[in-house]
Each structure stands twice: as C-alpha cells, then as structure tokens.
C-alpha cells in the first residue's frame, strides 16, 4: 500500500531523515517545476526522492507557511485535477533567487564534504 507517510514498522527502503532546513529547499524545488497544491508538493517530493524521505506532517505545513510568509512562494486558490478547490503554490522571483542560491550552496557544501570524506589516507 502506498502512503506518503511510511509506517515505521515496514519501510520499503531505509528512510532518510532530513537535515534542518532542507525541507524548505525541497519544497522550493518541487514548486519550481510548476504550481502545486500542498498535497501535490508532498507527493512530488516523495516521488522524486524515490519514496525514501520521511516527512513529518507537522513540519511539512510549517515549512510551507514559513516560505509563504517570506514571500518565496505564493499561494492562490484554484481548481485541482479532480475539480476540488485547492491552494496552488508557485515560486516568486525572490523564491527563484533563493532556490538558486540554496542549490549552489548545497552543491558546494556536498562537494567539499564528499571530497573530504572520500580522501584516502595516503592522499592526505
């Protein structure tokens, strides 16, 4: 059975816990591909990550609200794929800049950390 909220007892793969602040980045990324409502964002992150991320529901909406407050995403009421009213989020100009900056920072950091961790003893 599929659920975006995996049962602790029977994980499909080992879930990855998100470091502080990365959930926001992932939401920005998800929204950057096109306007999405909240549940849609959740599904897309699950889908892109190969369903390996564990997202606590409390922190998910908290992150959405914070991003909206900072005007990195903006919400607008619209109609969902099955004709329901839903709030669609899209990236603002500030959000686009933020995503770009965050991505660059993350890639840099990941490269540096990976570089250090992958060093062999004789290379140091």
């Amino acid at each position: 059975m599929y659920s975006p909220f995996p049962h602790r007892g029977e994980p499909l793969t080992k879930p990855v816990e998100l470091p502080q602040g990365t959930l926001e980045m992932l939401i920005l990324k998800a929204v950057s591909l096109g306007p999405l409502h909240g549940y849609g964002i959740l599904l897309r992150i699950q889908q892109i990550s190969g369903e390996r991320l564990e997202i606590l529901q409390g922190s998910f909406y908290t992150a959405i609200y914070r991003l909206e407050r900072r005007v990195w995403i903006k919400g607008e009421w619209g109609e969902s794929e099955n004709n329901r009213r839903a709030r669609f989020y899209s990236l603002t100009a500030a959000g686009t800049r933020q995503l770009k900056a965050e991505t660059a920072k993350w890639t840099d950091m990941a490269a540096v950390v990976a570089g250090i961790l992958n060093k062999k003893a004789d290379e140091i």
């Binding site: 908290t62 914070r66 005007v71 329901r84």
Partner: protein, 899 residues
C-alpha cells in the same frame, strides 16, 4: 495603482491568512489524501481515520500556522492577559486594592518625574535654552551677590561680534501705566532688542514677535502681550491683534500675544508687555540706551572658554564706565537655570525620595496580596501544571497578571499625576521657574510605562516563583482539611516588616516636616502681620503735568501725606504708615555705614529702611529705648535714625547706643530730592531702639537695621502700610476711591514685584516658608497613603489567612482553646512582623536622621519618631484584630463544615 490598492496589497503581504483560509486549505489536502487511500482500497471510514491520524485535525491547523509565522507568543500572551483580566474581574475587592496601591505609587512617581522634567530638564520654552547665559559680575568682596550689568548699544554690538557668542539679547525693565481708561493701571514692561523673535525662538500664540524692522525710525510703536496679561486685561480676546493699547499716554499697536509658557523674565520680573528696545531712546531722552544682556553661546562652546573670551571685552566696558562696576570683580556666565537649580534640586530630591518609598510600599503591598491570594489559587495552578503547563508557563501567567494590575494602576496613576504634579507648583510657586509648564508628554508616558512594567515584574516575581513551585501531586487531591501550617508565611512577614519599616520612615519624615513647619509658624516675627496690607504706588513719572508739580521735596512729601491721610480717613482703617522697600519678612537695602564718622577698615553693613514714624505702630514693632521721631522731624527729613535690637547688641559693646551717631554714604547719592541743609554732611543721631522684626526671611536671624525718615531720600515710589479692622483686602475698593479723590489718575499697583498684598501673604511668599509648607503637606499626604497601604497589606494577610484556616480555628475552638488564644494565633504572624518592622524602622530612622537633617535643614525629633511608631503600632494592631475577630466569631460546627 491607486493608493488604496497599494495599501491593500501591503496589508495583504503582511497580514496573516484568515482562520478559515488555512483550515480550508488543510481540508482540501486531507480530502485529497483520503481519496488516494480509498482509491488504494481502504474503506471510507478507515481512510478518513487514517488521514486524520497521519495529517492531524483541521481545527488544530491554525495553531500550527500561527506558530510557523511567529505569532504564537502573541497569542499566548494575549490569552494570559485575557485570563488575567478575567481573574481581576472575578475578585473585584482584591483588584481594587492592588490597583489602587499602584495607582498611588505610580501616580506620585510619574508626577514627580514630570515635575523634574518640567522644572529641571526643560524649564524654559526658549530655543537652545541650555546655551543661554546670564552674564553676571561677581564682586570679589561680596561673592554671594552676583550683579547684572547694563550695556550701551555700542557695547552690545561689540558683544554680538565676540567669538563664542551666537547672539545676545538686551532687555530693560520699566514700570509703566496703562492710560486712557477710568483708572490708570500699573504694568511691568520689558524693552527687548529687536532680535528677540529669533533669540527666543518661541512662536507667538497670536500675531508675531518683535522683529528687526521694528527698530526702524526710532522704533515702531508696537507691543507684544504676555499671556497672563492678555487673559487678565483683555479676557483672552482672540481678535486683539491690530488693536491699540495706550501706555503712558501714547498709543501702541498690539502685534502679538505670547504663549502661556513664555514668561520672560522670571528673575528680574515677568513682563506684562514687551516693546522694541529702540523706543527707549525717544522716551527716556538719554544719550545712550542701556541693556541688561543675555547671551546665547554658539553650540559646543564650553563655559570656561566663553568666560575667558568675554572677560577682556567686559573689562574694556568697565574702563569706559567704571562707575557701573565694583572695584574688584570678575565675570561669570551663569546658565539661566542656575538660580533655580540649587534649592529646587534639593526640594525635588526629597520629594522623589518620598515617592519612591511610596512606590516600593505599593509594590510590597501588591506582592503581599498576590501571595495571600495565591494560597487560594494553588488548586487552580496545580491543575494547570498537572495537565502539562511548564513552570515557566505558570510563572509567565502569574507575571502577566501582575503586569495587568500594574498597567491598570499606571493608567490611573498617569491620569492622577496630571493633577498631582501641579500641587508643588501651587503650594510653593516661587521655588519653581514661572515658565515651567507641567504636561503629560512622550518622555513622561514612556517613563510611566517602563515604571509599570518594572513594578509588575518586581512585585509579581516573588509570588510567581513561590506559587509555581510545588509538585502537583500533593496539591491535587483537594484542599487539605485540618490543622496545617501554611508554608509561605515567612515571605509575607518579611514583606510586611519591610513595608512597616518604610512606612515608619515616611511617617517620621512627615512628622518632622510638619513639626518644623509649625515651629516656623510659631517663631516670633517681631511684628504683627495680621490685618496689615501693603499698597504700592508709583508716582506720576510719565505724566509731565502731574510730575512737574511734585518735583520739590516738600511738594512730594505733601502729596504723599495727603494720600496717606485720605487712606487713614477710610472707616475701618486704623493706622496708615509710609515706607519704601520695608515689607517684612524681607526688608531694607543692605548698605554700609560709619559710626561717628570714623571709617573702620572693615565697613559695617546694615539694612537701611526708609519709613515714616507711624511704621512702628502700624506693624506693632515695640520701642525698647529712646523714642521714635515725630511728625515735624519726619516732614523736615531730619538727620536722625532708629535702630533695631540686633544693631544695638552688635555695636553696643563699646558705646551707648543712644549716644551713637552714624552716617550712611549710600543715602547721600547725587539725588536732588536729597535734603541739602547745612546738616547734610553731618552724621545721623540715633534716637531710639526698636525690637527685632524679621528682615532677612522668616527663618533667618534678624540682621542689624537702621530706620531713617523716608523724606531723607525721595524715590519715585512709596508703599503704604494699612492696618485695618478685619481683612484688609475688603477695604481695597474704598482705599482706591480715597486715593482717586486726591489725584484721579494716581494708580495703585496690582500684583507683581511692587504689588498689593497683605503682610500674611508676604510671609507665605517667603521661600523657606513655602518650601516647609510644601514638605509638610506633601509628606503628610505621602505618609497617609503609605500608612493606608501598609494597613491594607496587614489587614488582607490576616483576613486571607483567617479565611483559609477557618476549619483549623473551628477545630481549635471545638477542642476548647480559649478565644484569646485563637485570636492570638490568627493575628500572630502579622503582629510579630509589624512589630519587627517598627523596630527596624526605628533603627533605620535614627541612622537616617543625620542624612535627612542635611537635606531638609531640620533634624528628626525623637518625639515625632516615637509618635509615628506609636501611631503605626496602634493601627497595625487594629488592622490585625479586625479580620482576626472573624476567626473566633464563627461557631465551631459551622467552621468544620466550611470546606
């Protein structure tokens, strides 16, 4: 985009989303997930349940939202405040007492702060008032009496060019009369250099200031009115600008009215009208105009640098007019606040100490009340902590409640302070600058808000920490029944003891202030001020016809005598005397004199008073030796003198007083009304000694004085001392009529420095007298408030504990305890701590006595201290016993059912 749309957009971007908006969004997510689950084959009911388990309740979502955008703290505080207000409403008695305690403290403290703000920080309405200096000449032989010095127009211009000077203001005072009406009215006019408008930088209430172009053509005939004069004379007519005012028989156009705060100049006399200085040349027919200068320094110029730069310039002036300067002098620039700072600063320090004590007592009272009430609330707090409230959360809740009380108190206190702050000004007007206006403004509001928060935290913290510290388990099973000692008692007792000690301090201070004021009032004055009025008249210096008639000494004496007789003929008037500058308790001009024509190395000084022979009878000053001069001697202006007892004691050591002859160089000035007989160089014979009448202020020892017939020097003004049967002011109208029957346009002074008032009023105006009265009244009020607060504190502690322990007392009584014992048990803690407070207070007060003696110029008297302690002990006993009575009044059976 319209402005409205812009505002809406801005609001939209900062306003939080609505409750329903957040909930609807969450519901749509919930529904989408639920449908997903149903599609995967879950039955509808189970899908619904699972969705809610995974995602949460829609109702709780809004809290998540507000938490996420940082509003949670506000929400919680808002809740705490609402809860605090509800709690206060539920206990109106408690709330009223607590709020009132703080209203008194915060109100009094805010009032004092606004007084300090108005009097010491911002006393003057002028632009750059802290840079305005009063240049004075310090005579090195008499450094305590700085004198002002006049400048000619040319010197004034020299001063303008000096490096440290931003701009100088010149002014000159003149007594004037308003003519053209039924009776002439004396007013005080001030001529100002025409830069006055920019120098003061005070916007007129109506019209305009005096401007430089008013100097054209020998000065425009224009006049600016003082606010009070405008109110008094024109009834505050708003259409006064452009009308004509006749002064000294010449028309002046009214061009402006100054605001109420402008009362230039408090030191030399507040002007009723202000006129362009250039007019003086035409009016006085003098070769040069003289001005008294005020100097506004450039910004960032130090006093020392300015003094150094200006001294050579003033030395130059002294070379031009050596007669205007003493022999040895130096220049000192005095900030214009200086005359007030010293005495007012001392007065205010004492008052501030008083209000701070009151505030602390008020805070202690609130703490006591909160602690006492807290025992009744332990159940509620235990439940809160049992269902998960952290200790911090409970402390916060209790603190918020305390702050709610203190803020309510502050709101009422600020309102009360508006009136309280005016009290010192009403009681002792001469101790404060006339231009300081008490108003509630931003700094004062900020001060009181800060004070309220501080107080709230101060008095709320101890009870909050105390009450939040218990484990819920021991409290929850319900209130204990039985005989359990209350654990929080000792905190009350410390607070009560402190409160009582501080109250004792205030009460003792008040007692001392009142006692020394009474002492001052009972001090023998040496004269009888009751039913004596002083009337000043200015002779007709401005009416050429009348003035010409009284140019000879005989004519002027006759004129004055004629008026005197007419006043004396008014029914009810018993004695009328003449004098100049002879109004007690501060009389005479300090002059040097020589005994028997010998010139001592150190020249003796005495107060010289110009009076007629009836002065002593009118003021009931006793004759000790010799005699007073008679009418003929007075008319002739003979070379005789009467001295007071202080003079006789000082100089009798080597001479018999009545054999003494003295000469007073100051009286032989180049004055053509002066007696020019063959005797003029001769010394004055002392013919009598009179008793000491206060002549240096009510509280200061009498200084040596010489009384001389007023006909010796004829000044253009005289004062009549009128003794009447009953209140002298009721005769004022008849006396005016009597004066008018001699000369229809002879005005009498009203108000001001040369004005009309009774001698009792003259005493009340004495600085020391009014200050002492201020202290007695204010400290009396403070200590009454403090006493009331302390008693309320004691009362409520005993009342609360009796209410809490009704069962215990019932058990005690049922088991046969004597009633007196139960009464003692109920009142014991409060009584013991009050007693401890009194003992601490007594110890503290005797230590503080020396400090207070310095500040109040009168020491604690053991008598008033013990009286205060006795008063406090008695009232504390009452405050304990009244509520404790309830403990034994309840029938034991009922007490046992109490819970």
């Amino acid at each position: 985009m319209s402005l409205l749309a812009a505002i809406r957009k801005l609001w939209h971007s900062i306003a939080p989303r609505s409750h329903s908006d957040v909930e609807e969004e969450f519901r749509s997510t919930l529904d989408a997930y639920q449908e997903d689950l149903i599609r995967q084959g879950l039955p509808e009911e189970e899908a619904r349940r699972k969705a809610r388990i995974d995602l949460g309740q829609p109702a709780a979502q809004n809290e998540t939202y507000r938490d996420a955008i940082g509003l949670r703290l506000f929400d919680e505080l808002g809740g705490d405040i609402r809860y605090g207000l509800r709690a206060l409403r539920r206990n109106p008695g408690f709330a009223a007492v607590a709020v009132l305690s703080l209203t008194l403290g915060i109100g009094a403290t805010t009032a004092m702060f606004s007084l300090i703000y108005a009097v010491l920080l911002h006393p003057f309405p002028y632009a750059g008032a802290d840079r305005i200096m009063n240049p004075v000449i310090i005579d090195e032989q008499h450094p305590d009496e700085p004198s002002w010095f006049p400048l000619s127009k040319a010197q004034f211009d020299d001063l303008r060019l000096a490096a440290p000077v931003d701009s100088p203001l010149g002014f000159n005072n003149s007594h004037m009369e308003i003519t053209g009406g039924a009776l002439p009215e004396e007013i005080f006019g001030i001529y100002l250099t025409e830069n006055a408008g920019t120098f003061f930088g005070v916007r007129p209430l109506l019209g305009r200031n005096i401007e430089p172009y008013d100097a054209e053509n020998g000065g425009h005939s224009v006049v600016v009115l003082n606010y009070h004069f405008w109110q008094r004379h024109f009834g505050g007519d708003p259409h006064i600008i452009g009308q004509t005012l006749e002064i000294n028989h010449a028309p002046y156009t009214i061009i402006g009215v100054m605001p109420r705060s402008f009362a230039f100049n408090d030191t030399t006399g507040v002007g009723d009208v202000y006129l362009p200085g250039s007019l003086m040349r035409g009016l006085f027919n003098v070769p040069y105009l003289t001005y008294i200068p005020w100097i506004k320094l450039r910004p960032h110029v130090t006093l020392a640098a300015a003094n150094a730069a200006l001294e050579p310039i003033v030395r130059q002036f002294a070379r031009q007019h050596p007669e205007r300067f003493p022999d040895h002098w130096h220049l000192a620039l005095q900030p214009i606040i200086v005359p007030y700072q010293q005495e007012t600063g001392r007065t205010l320090t004492l008052l501030v100490a008083g209000v701070v004590l009151l505030l602390i007592i008020g805070c202690a009272n609130c703490s006591i009340l909160l602690l006492a009430r807290g025992r009744a609330r332990q159940h509620e707090l235990a439940i809160r902590s049992a269902i998960g409230a952290s200790r911090w959360r409970i402390v916060r809740q209790l603190l918020v409640e305390a702050v709610v009380i203190s803020c309510t108190g502050a709101v009422l206190g600020v309102a009360a302070s508006y009136w309280l702050a005016k009290l010192p000004l009403l009681l002792s007007p001469d101790s404060f600058p006339a231009e300081s206006v008490i108003r509630i403004n931003a700094p004062i509001l900020a001060f009181s808000v800060a004070l309220a928060l501080l107080c709230g935290i101060l008095f709320g913290l101890v009870p909050a920490l105390r009450l939040s510290r218990h484990d819920s388990a021991s409290m929850l099973p319900g209130r204990q029944i039985g005989v359990v000692a209350a654990p929080a008692k000792h905190r009350w007792s410390v607070l009560i003891a402190a409160q009582v000690a501080l109250t004792l301090l205030l009460v003792a201070t008040a007692g001392t202030a009142i006692r020394s004021f009474l002492h001052l009032m009972q001090m023998p004055l040496g004269y009888d001020p009751a039913n004596v009025m002083k009337l000043g008249i200015m002779l007709h210096t401005h009416d050429p016809g009348e003035w010409g008639r009284i140019q000879s000494r005989e004519a002027r004496t006759a004129y004055i005598e004629q008026i005197r007789e007419k006043i004396a003929s008014v029914p009810g008037v018993s004695t009328v005397a003449v004098g100049t500058d002879a109004t007690p308790p501060y009389t005479g001009t300090e002059s040097s004199f020589n005994i028997d024509g010998t010139r001592d190395r150190e020249q003796p000084q005495a107060r010289v008073m110009l009076v007629d022979q009836r002065y002593f009878a009118a003021l009931r000053i006793s004759v000790l030796e010799g005699r007073i001069w008679n009418t003929d001697e007075n008319t002739r202006g003979d070379f005789i003198a009467v001295v007071n007892h202080a003079f006789a004691t000082r100089y009798r050591s080597s001479f018999n007083t009545l054999a003494l002859q003295l000469s007073i160089p100051g009286l032989t000035s180049k004055n053509h009304y002066q007696v020019t007989s063959a005797q003029s160089t001769a010394a004055r014979q002392i013919i009598g000694v009179v008793g000491d009448a206060r002549n240096d202020g009510v509280d200061r020892p009498v200084v040596p004085a010489i009384y001389v017939p007023y006909t010796a020097v004829m000044l253009p003004y005289v004062q009549f001392f009128v003794r009447t049967q009953g209140d002298p002011l009721t005769y004022l109208h008849a006396i005016r009529g009597a004066i008018a029957s001699v000369a229809s346009d002879q005005q009498i002074s009203n108000g001001g420095f040369n004005g009309t008032f009774t001698l009792n009023e003259a005493i009340e105006r004495d600085a020391q007298y009014s200050r002492q009265r201020l202290f007695s009244i204010l400290f009396g009020v403070f200590s009454a408030m403090a006493l009331a607060l302390a008693l309320v504190g004691i009362f409520s502690v005993v009342a609360y504990s009796v209410a809490q322990r009704t069962t215990e007392f019932g058990v005690r009584l049922a088991l046969g305890a004597p009633r007196a014992h139960v009464l003692w048990v109920a009142a014991r803690i409060a009584l013991v701590s009050a007693a401890a407070g009194i003992v601490i207070g007594l110890a503290f007060d005797s230590f503080l006595g020396a400090v207070l003696a310095h500040w109040m110029q009168s020491a604690f008297a053991a008598g008033s201290l013990f009286a205060a302690a006795a008063l406090l002990a008695l009232s504390a006993l009452l405050a304990c016993l009244l509520p404790a009575r309830h403990a034994i009044a309840v029938p034991p059976a009922e007490a046992l059912r109490h819970e």
